[in-house]
Amino acid sequence: MRLTVNDVEHDLDLDPRTTLLDALREHLDLTGAKKGCDHGQCGACTVLLDGRRVNSCLVLVIAQQDARVTTIEGLGTAEEPHPLQRGFLDHDGFQCGYCTPGQICSAAGMLDEVERGWPSAVTAGDDPDLLSDPEIRERMSGNLCRCGAYPNMVPAIRQAAGR
């Protein structure tokens, strides 16, 4: 099967049980996406699949023929970090760093959702601010951080969004 990861096309021949997360980490040597719970509960494995954030641990790669995947490695580099990576550095938005690739990929997908005007569970009113602090917290609730670095992630994401 064919899969495009960070603009590089790959031909893969994998066991049907292989998740997207295991394909990235074990077969394509892209170890940025992390295996936390492996059950879709922690968000450490978040990547962008055809532009949308998903838990790669719950995606069977065999069902994603011709899909385009973006991982943390495809968002930015040490020399040219993505605005979200810059924001997390500037605001100290992490401690141990294990959840950070998932947090940043999730935030990238989330900012795109906000751009499209998608509501969240805390959105109210006709002219809401979709990037208020409660909005950012609600929209990022699928990404856990056991160090508890949440407070600094909020301004990090806000900076990346240019707010």
Binding site: D15, P16, R17, T19, D38, H39, G40, G43, T46, L49, R52, R53, V54, N55, L58, V59, L60, I62, A63, S106, G109, M110, E113, R116, G117, W118, P119, S120, A121, T123, R137, E138, R139, M140, S141, G142, N143
Partner: protein, 324 residues
């Protein structure tokens, strides 16, 4: 995980092999396969079928394709405007990542999160019929107070389904015997002594769409969910409601409870009590109590009776206030 063959579904997958299962978003099924609770020999992927549209019906209703993603449905302007309870229920569930994968049909067919069902090493009449139900004496804090049986007290975990029950949605099904429709409130079975069957669907029958009938007063509808943390957790109790008030009197009401039963619980007794009654908090509480008379709580989940009564009163009081 047990190995399996993978194929994509044809338009009609009549004749699904006995140990085959449909795969849509996979957010629940892949997890259950990892846990060894689901062990299909074949996965038939339905996501390549043209079932991902949301279309308006001539009668003013809306048809939702079975593979419409939860996030797309929640954001759809027709749903947000005409059926806000459904958008709110979807957004109250799971996380942004999961809603991007999860589908309408898959959300309805997700399995209970009862810890004994999710653990293949534990007895459970749902995953291993006849082995017993440890939940009745064990951890049942978030299990059923309505509709359970000696054999099973699982709750259906969906938020979306509770809104669909209140809205009187109709599930469209395709199978070997042709197409048929099932009211969403009849889709899930009560467990009785055969809790292994969650729904009335025959093996191989596929959900193709969910129809929302026209319901003009659903523009005034809401979903309220109580849970153990502020976000990204299953409900311990939830209420979906739509309310039509005329001159301070309830003309029509739709009410459904979540996380209290093996199915989304349409509160028909409460609805009947409310029609023609003053739209006051007192009426709303009395109506919830009438519905909850049937509740049979276990040692650790009687709190759900108070919770559902309070949620019902809060949601309907707010909707009544908006009507003024």
């Amino acid at each position: 995980m047990k190995t399996f063959d993978y194929r994509t579904a044809d338009r009609s997958s009549a004749g699904l092999a006995p140990e085959a299962m449909f795969l849509a978003g996979g957010t629940n099924l892949v997890d259950l396969m990892k846990l060894g609770v689901a062990t299909p020999d074949v996965l038939v992927d339905v996501t390549k079928l043209p079932l991902d549209g949301i279309t308006e019906r001539p009668d003013g209703g809306v048809r939702i394709g079975a593979t419409v993603r939860n996030s797309d449905l929640a954001a759809d302007p027709r749903i947000r405007r005409g059926f806000p309870v459904l958008s709110q229920a979807l957004l109250a569930g799971a996380s942004g990542q999961l809603r991007n994968m999860a589908t309408t049909g898959g959300n309805l067919l997700q399995r209970t999160r009862c810890r004994y069902f999710m653990d293949a090493t534990k007895p459970c009449n749902k995953h291993a019929p006849g082995t017993g139900c440890p939940a009745r004496e064990g951890d049942h804090r978030n299990l059923a107070i309505l509709g359970g049986s000696e054999a099973c007290v699982a709750t259906h975990p969906s938020d979306m389904a509770v809104a669909l029950a209140a809205l009187g949605a109709v599930v469209r099904v395709d199978g070997a015997a042709g197409e048929r429709t099932v009211p969403v409130t009849d889709l899930h079975r009560l467990p009785g002594d055969t809790p292994q069957r969650d729904t009335v669907l025959e093996h191989g029958e596929m959900i193709t769409a969910v129809d929302l009938p026209a319901l003009p007063f659903a523009t005034r509808s809401a979903y309220r969910k109580a849970r153990d943390r502020a976000s990204y957790a299953f409900a311990v109790g939830s209420v979906a409601a739509a309310l039509d008030v005329d001159d301070g009197v309830v003309r029509e009401v739709r009410l459904a409870f979540g996380a209290v039963a093996p199915k989304p619980w349409r509160a028909t007794v409460a609805e009947e009590v409310l029609r023609g009654r003053p739209a006051t908090e007192e009426s709303f509480r009395a109506a919830a109590d009438a519905e909850l008379e049937a509740a049979r709580p276990l040692r650790d989940n009687a709190y759900k009776i108070d919770l559902i009564r309070n949620l019902t009163a809060a949601v309907l009081t707010r909707l009544a206030g908006e009507a003024r």
